[in-house]
Amino acid sequence: MSLPLNVRAALVSVLLLAGFLLVWQGATAGFGASSGGLPAGMDPEYAKLMGLTATTGKSAMPSPVDVGGQLLKLLSDPFYDKGPNDKGLGIQLAYSLGRVLLGYGIAVLVAVPLGFLIGMSALMSRALDPFIQVLKPISPLAWMPLALYTIKDSGISAIFVIFICSVWPMLLNTAFGVASVRKEWLNVARTLEVGPLKRAFTVILPAAAPTILTGMRISIGIAWLVIVAAEMLVGGTGIGYFVWNEWNNLSITNVIIAILIIGVTGMVLDQILAAVARLVTFPE
């Protein structure tokens, strides 16, 4: 085997995908498709009132071909707007991204400076630790009723929930990164009589940047997880609402498409931050 590792990995990936699709197709096809007709003894008038699943035994699970066809249909017209409850996938995605970026942006603005302060003070770091540990694992769905009740606006509540869920990993990582800047570098800075502000920006920030970016990368993942849950609950617009609306219609095809799109978007967001992280990483 003289192929480079990357190519071989890609090949295995493609094979795995093809195998998965094949099994999926095989598992969903073949139910009742052979007979085509109605089950014995079923009144045709009755059958007209029933779904295909009940009459022909067609699997409720769509085949990959169904999903592919529907995906093409949805992607061919992503920006239609048929009223407040029915918008194209592109518009829904834009709403979700807008909310995530807003909530996440506010979280960055709060978490990075605060994490700096906590990281530079051992006392604050210990004192705040129990609060952060308690608040960190709370699910977005648990925050939602409280947010709706106090903020009294569902749009802002969704953004608040993204903020509150994505702030903690960044806060912890920033504090950790700042606290673990090597003592030698700080001592050199002190020997050269660098002022505290200059020290923060020219020594600590570059040294802690990779850790901070790691925190931000974890946080964007969480923010994207949260938005789907939040939109399913609050409704109106967004990819989470799309999932809920299609679930309401028990349309598994559209739910699978939404899952696919949520996954791809999450990956893109993660890769963007990974690229930024590579920019600020330095060899030691």
Binding site: M42, A54, P84, N85, L148, G235, E246, W247, L250
Partner: protein, 454 residues
Amino acid sequence: MASFDKFRRGSRFFSSSCSCGEHGSQSEHDLAANMTGGEEERYSSFVETAVMRALFPHTPSRRAFLKSVGASTALAAVSQFLPLGDVTDAFAQGSGALEKKDLKVGFIPITCATPIIMAHPLGFYSKQGLNVEVVKTAGWAVVRDKTINKEYDAAHMLSPMPIAISMGLGSNPIPFSVPAIENINGQAITLAMKHKDRRDPKDWKGMKFAIPFDYSMHNYLLRYYLAQNGIDPDTDVQLRSVPPPEMVANLRAENIDGFLAPDNIAQRAVYDGVGFIDILSKEIWDGHPCCSFSSSREFVTTNPNTYAALLRAIIDASAYAQKPENRKQIAEAIAPANYLNAPVTVLDQVLTGTYADGLGQVKKDPNRIAFEPFPYDSFAIWILTQMKRWGQVKGDVDYAGIAKQVFLATECASVMKDMGLAPPASTKTIVVMGKPFDPSKPEAYVDSFAIKRI
């Protein structure tokens, strides 16, 4: 009065030639109205009578009081304490300029919301000069919170919800009002296919049922049905609050054995071959209210004209939906993703009442769902008795007082009259599973049940 005549004259839904439908022409009507003291007096007497009744529910003592001090003195005294003018004005000025034209109305995607939803695609809102956005909402708690937060001007709620909100059950007490019921009947008990030989409720011990919300007719009707059959709904079975779309999925996964749910969910379970319709809710109580059109009292008093126009649109839409010949068109209008997002076949079966029961039979029941908007006080009193029965409210309940405050029967009647529709008689006989209900003796009714949580 004058300004909404223009809507009606061109309307194909009303064939009468004057605005109330009782006179041969508009001029005759006006003459009659002048002779009886005109619109304003009629409105205020409606409201005043209602208030006096609420204050003195005992008829002989009310009459004695009015006799001794004189009606006008009594009213003047009462209006010192109650902002009577507000409510009267709200309905008398119903024909003035609209305070607010762009409205948001929330709904849950079930067929109960038919009048609220169809009023949008079929133009009943725009006919009243309103630009209404109907917004689909994920669950009852969210509808409640968004309406309380004023994101929605009005909303589709389960009829016990505005009563619960006004009384502060499950939220802060905020006065809410129900000027119109959305639908009567239209629910069903659906069971998983594996129970098709176990349809006697006496055998249902240990089963798990889903209901849409604690403060729902579904909860009270299912509890009533179980209790009448000797099953204690709190100890013998499990009742779970599950959002309607999750019900079919849960039934398929056998997490629940059945549900009493709004249509189109019940029919959807049949359509997907997951369950069968055991009984329609009308077999428990024929003519029971289900969902309501609600808004906060604050919205009513600050936007009286808008509110009246909104109410006219809903009553108008209900009257249209009540006619069997329109049902097919409505099913098609509300099926798209922007509204219910459900297969037309399913909606058709619910609305026309010709449906597959899931066991291989085609059944016909044109009254499976009906749209009669009148919010009888006795509906609210019945709901309150069940809240009391199942321990959702404790202590003394002012049955008639709360019913009058929340269910605006007099106001609905006056708007219906103005639209040329005949409001029904103000009382309605209620018989639930053969047991008659007397709204004047709610406590005795609660006491009469063997299974209760008091």
